[in-house]
Symmetry: C2
Subunit: 792 residues, 2 copies
């Protein structure tokens, strides 16, 4: 039987010339600037790529996925082990939990490390045997198309994932380009080879989440369509084009569990029946009953714009069928990224470090199609003129360390990330910057207007290839948009009153920092008026300081503190955001000295910090707040409000205490197992914390251009900067016990400051840490201590 593949003229016409101009399976090459001539292989002959283990974080609350993607790729094609109804979906935010033993299928979009969830689009599953159109429960995998698998028949590398599906003895391999997931299925000899396409499955499932799905059998190797969902993102569109390397012999489309149409019946030769179908619940299956075609390739191109965009992305990035070539190109792209920082250390340190590097390269992702179009926040199709539009901004998390890390590792991408946020501002009916946005939607998740921190940090670091006036206008607009999360009350009262707005304490604190960041940008631009205005606002943290209890507390609009007060208690929608008073009181990154003074000086401050790391509280205090994890006393490393706290000892002149705690955190709360991330990885934030901290410093206050020194967790590290310079961290006498800095040199000269300027890094050079087993309790002079607003 000969089946002719005739392409849909309407859709494919525009890309025919493109196909003709390309040959083989070749990706658009991207210029990746990095130091050349360096060997990235260590003494065991292994490169950073070889150390990355995508399974790290896939167990517990890390919420990472093990599947295939490329750096900042829009597509993350990855196995899904469970799709749970939304109230149960937290563990499966990334579709996969390491503890599971069955796989539902392989979908194409996944967040890395988030605590809220969505995505899981366009699920494919290869099967044999009797046609089954529901996955079935994990406890009874035989009742559906779901399959058992085991980790000893599973493999993951950056850009590559493989697993053997036990039930039907099918080997699955996955690789990816920016917009394409490439599947390779190897079947046993069978006459019932089949691929299921289930458009009803989704991460964070609830009734009617899939608003509409549409499927179109263009010919016997090409299927297109789209899906609209109203999930966490209320109005999200994913268009797809699915290309099979082998023509399917027949197909079926199922709607609302009714078998509606069969394709390629006995009487009609081609595209039998009604080969397109729209509906709320659409599934399809494609039969390949050819015992000779054991290996079937499937390419899935995605777009947020339209089907043409999806097809064009697929044909542009991956016109051919050579899986191995594509896989090796993905590897090359990963190596280009991973080789930007080379460390020396133990096997475990390398695994954690390079996997952390890997995890910082998974968000935000490239949102523009190959032709430059993208779907904006206003749901209009835009063309990104002169920039690449990025999406997935988990800003409450990533402004802390992930974006500051990008100013070192990705300075070429930072301007486009900012331009993307400015496009969001332009398209926003509120005319404010993103809060937690993805795929053309604002979710309003978490608090603050931390996009301003990302922009101010970049600008102050002289990354200025964006319209600064426009950006400042956007920052100011975001900081003065009264209806947003009590901001109007904040401007009126000087704090966010808890009787008018939930989580008023944490909002006040974070707004104050953001205001400080805007002030820094204003100053750098020579705008004195706005500098003064926002500097004044940035002191607002003082307005919720309760000297009687020594905590930052929620206040009512009559200027009294809310009662009753329990510094251990946390709840969603309470006084603090995913945290309690113990955790949130330390949130004054721009003015630790101010906090120290309010607490009664360095000793009192350090004493309180010591207590933080020691006080235990019953689980009932915040057992229901899923995000509070990775505990040392009340310190919760698994969630962002704590992540700068261990560095605060430095401000009190006690860097050895920071060294001790940082060492403790790195030793106890990270490992190279699937359970090696103690809380949500959060789109690179947790990993950026680890990368900075292993290098020996951390950006406590983005926008200050300073990195506060902790204690290095590598023997040596070389940062290959975009400007061609290399900054090297070296340690002397570092060992399991020698965790304390005895002294430092910068370019062989004594270095006494407990912070590093950004410009010090970018100029290149060598920072040497001489380590020892005992803390050096030398009093620090003022200029050895990092920036605080109060000291200006």
């Amino acid at each position: 039987m000969v089946i002719h593949s005739h392409y849909s003229k309407s859709i494919l016409f525009s890309i025919v010339t493109l196909i003709l101009s390309l040959s083989g399976c070749r990706e658009k090459t991207q210029v990746e600037q990095h130091a050349s001539g360096t060997s990235y292989l260590d003494e065991s002959g292994r490169a950073p790529y070889d150390y990355v283990d995508p399974f790290i974080g896939t167990g517990g609350e890390g919420h990472t996925y093990p599947g295939a993607t490329v750096p900042f790729g829009f597509v993350q094609v990855s196995p899904d082990t469970e799709f749970k109804y939304f109230r149960q979906s937290f563990p499966w935010c990334a579709g996969y939990q390491y503890g599971d033993s069955t796989i539902v299928g392989f979908s194409h979009t996944h967040f890395s490390g988030t605590g809220h969830s969505d995505l899981g689009d366009v699920l494919l599953m290869p099967v044999t045997g009797k046609l089954q159109l529901i996955p079935g429960p994990s406890a009874y995998p035989d009742s559906g198309y779901r399959s058992r698998f085991s980790h000893d028949q599973e493999q993951a590398e950056p850009g590559y994932y493989a697993v053997r599906l036990k039930d039907d003895d099918i080997s699955v391999e996955l690789t990816a380009t920016e917009h394409v997931g490439f599947h390779q299925y190897t079947y046993p000899v069978t006459d019932t080879g089949r691929i299921i396409l289930d458009l009803t499955q989704s991460i964070y499932t609830y009734d009617d989440k899939v608003r509409w799905a549409y499927l179109r059998i263009e010919n016997d190797t090409l299927v297109t369509g789209y899906r609209q969902t109203s999930g966490w993102a209320p109005d999200r569109y994913v268009y797809f084009a699915i290309s099979f390397s082998t023509p399917f012999r027949s197909y079926g489309i199922v709607r609302e569990d009714q078998m509606e149409y069969f394709g390629f019946g006995p009487r009609a030769p081609h595209l039998t029946g009604y080969p397109d179908r729209g509906g709320r619940k659409i599934k399809a299956y494609f039969n390949f009953p050819d015992p000779h075609a054991k290996t079937i390739g499937v390419k899935v191109g995605l777009s947020a714009v339209d089907i043409t965009g999806a097809l064009n992305n697929m044909m542009t990035e991956c016109p051919g069928w050579n899986f191995d070539e594509l896989r090796s190109m993905a590897k090359q792209r990963w190596e280009n990224q991973l080789n930007r920082i080379i460390i020396e250390g133990s096997e475990e340190e390398k695994a954690i470090f390079y996997t952390s590097m890997y995890h910082t390269l998974l968000a935000p992702v490239i949102y523009t199609d190959a032709d430059g179009r993208y779907r904006g926040l206003d749901q209009q199709i835009h063309h990104a003129d002169g920039f690449t539009n990025y999406t997935i901004y988990s800003l409450w998390d990533t402004y802390r360390a992930a974006h500051p890390l990008f100013t070192i590792t990705q300075p070429d991408r930072v301007p486009d990330m900012i331009r993307s946020m400015l496009a969001h501002y332009d398209q926003s009916v509120h005319h404010i910057l993103p809060v937690w946005s993805f795929h053309g939607n604002e979710t309003w998740c978490m608090i603050g207007y931390h996009a301003v921190s990302v922009i101010a940090d970049a600008y102050r670091k002289n990354i200025r290839d964006f319209d600064a006036e426009h950006a400042f206008q956007a920052m100011k607009a975001s900081a003065t948009y009264g209806p947003y999360d009590g901001l109007g009350h904040y401007m009126h009262y000087g704090f966010v009153p808890i009787d008018k707005e939930t989580e008023g304490a944490s909002k006040t604190l974070e707004y104050a920092y953001d205001d400080w960041a805007i002030a820094q940008m204003a100053k750098a631009m020579g705008n004195e008026e706005d500098h003064r205005y926002f500097m004044a606002r940035s002191a607002s943290y003082r307005n919720i300081w309760d000297s009687s209890t020594g905590f930052m507390r929620a206040k009512r609009s009559d200027n009294t503190f809310r009662e009753p007060f329990d510094p251990f208690y946390a709840q969603y929608g309470g006084d603090y955001t995913e945290g309690n008073a113990w955790q949130y009181t330390w949130y004054v990154p721009h003015d630790p000295q101010g906090l120290i003074r309010m607490m009664g000086g360095p000793e009192a401050f350090a004493g309180r910090l010591d207590s933080l790391f020691m006080l235990e509280a019953g689980k009932e205090k915040y057992g229901h707040v899923e995000d509070i994890a990775g505990l040392i006393g009340q310190y919760a490393h698994g969630n962002e409000p704590s992540q700068h706290i261990a560095y605060l000892y430095v401000y009190a002149g006690m860097p050895w205490k920071t060294q001790e705690r940082i060492h403790q955190i790195m030793q106890n709360l990270f490992d190279n197992t699937p359970y090696g991330i103690c809380g949500n990885e959060d789109c690179g934030q947790m990993s950026a914390w680890y990368i900075f901290s292993s290098l020996g410093f951390y950006p406590v206050c983005p926008g200050s251009n300073q990195y506060v020194i902790g204690t290095p967790a590598v023997q040596k590290a070389s940062i290959f900067l975009e400007n061609g310079n290399v900054f090297t961290i070296k340690t002397v006498n570092r060992s399991e016990k020698n965790i304390y800095i005895q002294s430092m040199t910068l370019n062989s000269k004594p270095y006494t400051r407990y912070y590093v300027d950004h410009s010090t890094l970018t100029e290149g050079g060598e920072l040497e840490f001489i380590m020892g087993p005992e803390p050096v309790k030398r009093k620090l002079n003022g200029d050895m201590i990092p920036y605080s607003m109060s000291n200006e």
Copy 2:
């Protein structure tokens, strides 16, 4: 209080230059070719426009709407009196029933005369008093925002509608451009002036029909958004831009009957809260508590493409606020169209005739945005290069007389209508021409592939400004797509077997005619092979002739007729489509002589025809088939299968019988009241029947280039053709009793044929009918009788 209107930069930026280049409220002028220098005023000083009564057909089963639109306009802004759940929605297909006494509101899209329904998009309602967000039932209008009205305070003209809403004493006026509905509301002195926008209302309502709605308060005079519905059209998008002449002082958005956000609160000056919202059930209200702003203008621009398209349409077609100017421009456009045929006759004849002309200009409608973009059948956004894309193709109805009329009155638009159908073909995954399509959707409603008739008819009439090869490919593809409605079986068996496909009898008959039409196109293009193939297929009607009963009957695939058989019985999904054996047996428009022979000759044939017009059957035979209406015996003028039948006497050589029946039908089944259309008007088909029949001839067999002569129902008629020629119909001695043609002259020479060639019309000239009270029962020679395939 001063409120600044600041426009959304993202959306409006692109049209700012456009606005600047326009001034006042001025429409794009359209070149309307027609004879000039003629006075269209009759002896009473009235022009055709003055005779049009948009209320004709709004009662009973006419299903027309009284609201405002322009010729072929995408927007039909019209009052809706009821939105019923789908099983009860038949009487409200056009949103309005003349017998109703309350109005729900004014929505912007309406079919004219259909029997299936959808649309009713973007409902606005001006109100005062207590905020009410549901319309409430018609029996209790005070329980909702619905208002009482009466016909003596209601007015409708082409392009203009006005009504006084009694409950709140608000006067409403409506006018339109192609993509814009312009409302003018005059309020009493009140401090509670308000406009409701209800995106949950829809014609042909059912649960979840509104898949998603989105609203965006751009500023205090501009609101944008869109709505997706899955109704009769499974996947339909309407984007809108609503502009108010006066800033509203506050607004509210309601979702799922929850008051979600209020705008313009006391503390935040502008765009308070979250001024956009998406959801399945979205409503909004806009408050204008200004006693001085009694009259408020509202412009609503629509687009099927995107919000930018809707805004651009609005600003292009109607940048200003002069209602009267816009109304007079709409009137001018109507006059340009209505003046193409000028008749002399009674007041009633003129009212019916010119209203019929009006009704033929309401579908298909212009689907392209002002910038040339449109949403295709493939749900991709296309640019119509070099043509205007039209939508709303009720082809099973309109191929009969409406499209043939367009070859006379709209030859300039016919090529674009064909190009639009070819675009549909190109975008169709089935690669076939439209069946019943609108707004980028195929509904598969009714039977046949009658698009081929429209194309063949135009081509044979030398309207050829389209790609004929492409068109022929599309026609052939449509006629050979096996999975469509038993077409594969038809090709296999020579008829559509009733055991394999419903309505096999009517499908066989209509396919046979369509095949004949393709054959004519093939012949005209010199394609002998396809001519032979389709001519052979066009004889398929003979395969279901039952000589024992004398009816066309449904056959099983074993070549036996289905039993039991009742020639009076009809049911949906039975042997015939919306008809019975009595009605459908006459459906051989391309070969009445073949039918005459099968029936035993002209006398027997005429005898059977006589019976058709006399036989009564119990209502129970087809009481449940809503479309069978307008009965004279078994003849059902209210539905299309009957509409050519009265002309068939001519083929039997008895034109006087045709004259008698046509006169009877026109006298009894049409009047100039709201109930003056005896069945669904059907997108111009019923009116085209009336226009042709009043002029004295009718296109029994489109594609034959012949119009079969009936009896004129005008004193005189002048057809002003696009080529500058004028064809005049004159009658002599016509009166209520003188309904029989005694003789005819063409250009003063005796004319003995009982048909008129299309070329005779287009060459211009004068056809004179000499009328008398007695039939002239002269035997007709062969060349006096119109075309039949059997005579070739």
